[in-house]
């Protein structure tokens, strides 16, 4: 019996010893992140799931191998949809990543809820040249005078056209439309080719195109103080009428199509004209589509209006100061000419660092240099407004759908304006 008891005691002791060793492992891990000689691991969430994700993975891998700050970036790439679902709950459950890459439009609601760190001191770090950043790009991350994100990528909406379909329709493949009216004329000609060929696609969730069209026509979404809707105007009606005429009445493109479905049409070579961001380039190249890209069409020739969009690095408030320092090391690495050039050339993105824009390889690349032209005059759309994401999803996108389905544009506009007011008043 005593022997049995001793045996039991032995098992208990062994378990306790294992527990102590495990605890020791845990404490050594925590000290690894605090000691300056040990590696600090920082977690990073983003939504670059396409071919851009492969480039990002390579950059992170190179950084992990070469950085002298003993920092290791552990990256988790998910779809933007997943990202936008996981991050809020992650922040609430104190399981947020150390830093994220997110769209500037989504950032505002996080900032309004006090869940993002002020990153203003990043530009004061040794080796960071604030003046090398395009001011518009830098300002994307500024809300109420504070910097909440540092740019990672800037983008806009560009005009894509299928050169093969242009030729078939008797159009000059090297002369894309410059105005919205020219776009309508060319789209009509292409849509007459038949065999399921579409002239132009306006996705029902195409708020980015809609905002550009509204802006070009002089329509405003919000009033000066951004407390009331300014949608109820002749310029908005003109924009809605234009889209309805093009899609619903003239039938130059599908009536009820999502952005993803419209992308597929362009990638399949059966869409003549399309407006989208730079991410479409890689797929078009992969599918051997003979296409061109130009700056966005305007209300009239010579205008220079476009909306600037972008993704930046942000840090949740739950991240410790020591980890913030490590994150700055990676963000600094990202914002070097070498990495900026790689990201721009491989993903066909406009550069936002002046040193990258001045690089001869960048200047030589037709697509990138065309996109860069637009970055020069593009401006963010109601930056820092925490209601924009809500207005886009719940008011503008449903309104586009109604316009494309043939609903009365005046009543759609009035109803949208009321809903914007209701959203702004917090109801």
């Amino acid at each position: 019996m005593r022997h049995g008891l001793m045996k039991k005691l032995g098992v208990v002791a062994a378990i306790a010893a294992a527990g102590v060793s495990l605890a020791a492992c845990g404490s050594s891990k925590s000290s690894s992140s605090s000691s300056s000689n040990k590696t600090t691991t920082i977690t990073f969430w983003n939504g670059f799931t396409s071919t851009d994700g492969d480039v990002l993975k390579q950059i992170v891998k190179d950084y992990n191998k070469t950085n002298k700050d003993h920092v290791k970036v552990k990256m988790d790439i998910m779809t933007w949809d997943n990202f936008n679902q996981k991050l809020p709950t992650g922040i609430t459950a104190k399981k947020a990543p150390d830093f994220v890459a997110m769209n500037y439009g989504d950032m505002a609601s996080y900032v309004a809820n006090g869940t993002m760190k002020d990153m203003g001191d990043f530009y004061k770090q040794n080796g960071v040249d604030k003046s090398n950043f395009e001011t518009t790009a830098r300002n994307l991350g500024v809300i109420n005078g504070k910097t909440y994100f540092v740019p990672m990528q800037v983008q806009g909406m560009y005009l894509y056209w299928n050169k093969k379909l242009f030729k078939k329709a008797g159009l000059n493949p090297n002369n894309p439309p410059k105005t919205w009216d020219e776009l309508a004329t060319d789209a009509k000609k292409i849509s007459k080719l038949g065999n399921n060929t579409q002239g132009f696609a306006m996705p029902k969730d195409g708020s980015a195109i809609m905002y550009n069209l509204l802006q070009d026509n002089g329509a405003k979404l919000l009033n000066g103080s951004e407390k009331k809707s300014a949608l109820n105007s002749a310029a908005t009606k003109k924009s809605f009428d234009y889209l309805q005429q093009l899609i619903y009445k003239d039938g130059v493109g599908p009536k009820n199509i999502s952005g993803a479905e419209a992308d597929n049409l362009m990638l399949a070579g059966s869409l003549g004209l399309y407006i989208n961001g730079p991410w479409l380039n890689s797929g078009l190249k992969k599918n051997n589509i003979d296409y061109g890209i130009s700056t966005l069409v305007q209300a009239k020739q010579g205008d220079k209006k476009a909306i600037l969009d972008g993704v930046g690095f942000g840090i949740p408030t739950s991240t410790s100061d020591s980890k913030t320092k490590a994150i700055y090391s990676f963000v600094k690495y990202w914002n070097t000419t070498k990495i900026g050039k790689k990201w721009s050339l491989e993903n066909k993105c406009a550069p936002y660092l002046k040193s990258v824009a001045a690089n001869k390889d960048i200047k030589k690349d037709k697509l990138v240099s065309t996109m860069y032209k637009q970055i020069g005059y593009a401006k963010p759309y109601y930056p820092g407004n925490k209601n924009m994401s809500n207005i886009t999803t719940n008011v503008i996108n449903p309104s586009i759908e109604k316009v494309l389905a043939g609903n009365n544009t005046t009543s759609v506009m009035k109803s949208a304006s009321k809903q914007v007011d209701s959203t702004l008043s917090g109801n």
């Binding site: 019996m1 936008n84 679902q85 809020p88 709950t89 922040i91 609430t92 989504d106 609601s109 809820n113 006090g114 869940t115 399921n196 029902k204 599908p254 009536k255 009820n256 199509i257 999502s258 479905e261 597929n264 049409l265 399949a268 059966s270 925490k386 209601n387 994401s389 809500n390 999803t393 719940n394 449903p398 759908e401 109604k402 389905a405 959203t423």
Partner: protein, 308 residues
């Protein structure tokens, strides 16, 4: 030594206590009860609690608002519409699935090689996730690249817009759901049909009943309990429809297929992250489902008594 003996006898009485069937039953139920408690009861109480607050997903600016969120629901046309769409989907999906499942079970009840093969084939969609099925149907029914519109076009028919048409979208989702799930109903009904004593059919045959009469007057009354179970589980499942809509139409066109759960999800988990209001709508949906399930259960029990 005495101490050890006491502990051994305590152990024995412990095992003896839990070995009795009436006590052991609790042990078997314990895992389910614990899971139900942590994943159903506590979240349900939590949801009810949250519905009285103006609270966002970040738990900032929380304010007690009493019944305001419930009052807001009755002024929120989109929320009310989402409830109607859910009821419409349930009315389309539940009877169709139960009928198709029962007819398939009756047709495949005899154990032949072909019937066994057919049962397996009909059960395959059940194994696929709803998301996968949704993607497959989206591609099959796509007016530009879909196979079904292509075939219809080849026969000179106009190409329906299916998921993109406000009238056709919900029926298309219902058809897809029936295709995906009727294998479960079929399996349950098959078990019930196979348990019917053959002597009942023999007697019916001797009385001159044809196959149709046998089905309605012998098979159906015998399978009423299983039928009731299928109706109730399908009803609850349909009222909670989400995945297939999220993947195929995302609630469109013009919110015409937005279900209650999808509306709750979009209110709570996307900007402006109104967790309190989403909880109130969830509570209302819970009450509706509870009323429907209890009434359908009572009706089926009544029917069962009537038929016996």
């Amino acid at each position: 030594m005495e101490e050890i003996d006491t502990s051994v006898s305590k152990k024995r009485s412990f095992f003896r206590f839990w070995n009795q069937p009436k006590h052991a039953a609790y042990l078997f139920m314990a895992p389910s009860i614990i899971i139900l408690l942590f994943f159903m009861v506590i979240p349900l109480i939590g949801t009810l609690g949250l519905s009285f607050f103006n609270i966002n997903i970040f738990f900032t600016g929380t304010k007690f608002v009493g019944l305001d969120n419930f009052v807001q629901f009755f002024h929120d046309q989109r929320a009310i519409n989402s409830m109607w769409h859910t009821v419409y989907f349930t009315l389309l999906e539940t009877p169709t699935q139960v009928i198709v499942g029962t007819v398939a079970a009756a047709a495949l009840s005899r154990t032949t090689l072909f019937n066994r093969f057919s049962r397996s084939v009909f059960y395959v969609p059940v194994i696929c996730s709803l998301t996968t099925s949704g993607i497959i149907f989206s591609m099959l029914l796509d007016p530009n690249i879909g196979w079904i519109p292509y075939v219809l076009h080849q026969f000179g028919m106009s190409t329906p817009q299916f998921f993109r048409d406000a009238t056709l979208a919900m029926p298309s989702i219902a058809v897809m759901t029936v295709w995906k799930n009727f294998g479960v109903t079929m399996t349950i009904m098959l078990t019930a049909i196979q348990a019917i004593s053959p002597s009942l059919y023999e007697s019916a045959e001797m009385d001159g009943a044809n196959k149709k009469q046998q089905f309605f007057h012998v098979t159906i009354p015998q399978i009423i309990p299983s039928l009731g179970f299928c109706v109730m589980t399908n009803l609850i499942g349909s009222m909670q429809v989400f995945d297939q809509i999220y993947v195929t139409t995302a609630g469109g066109p013009e919110f015409k297929t937005e279900s209650a759960v999808q509306y709750i999800y979009s209110r709570g988990f996307s900007a402006p992250y109104q967790l309190g209001y989403a909880s109130a709508v969830a509570t209302i949906l819970f009450v509706i489902i509870a009323i429907l399930s209890v009434s359908s259960n009572l009706y089926m029990s009544h029917k069962e008594k009537q038929m016996r």
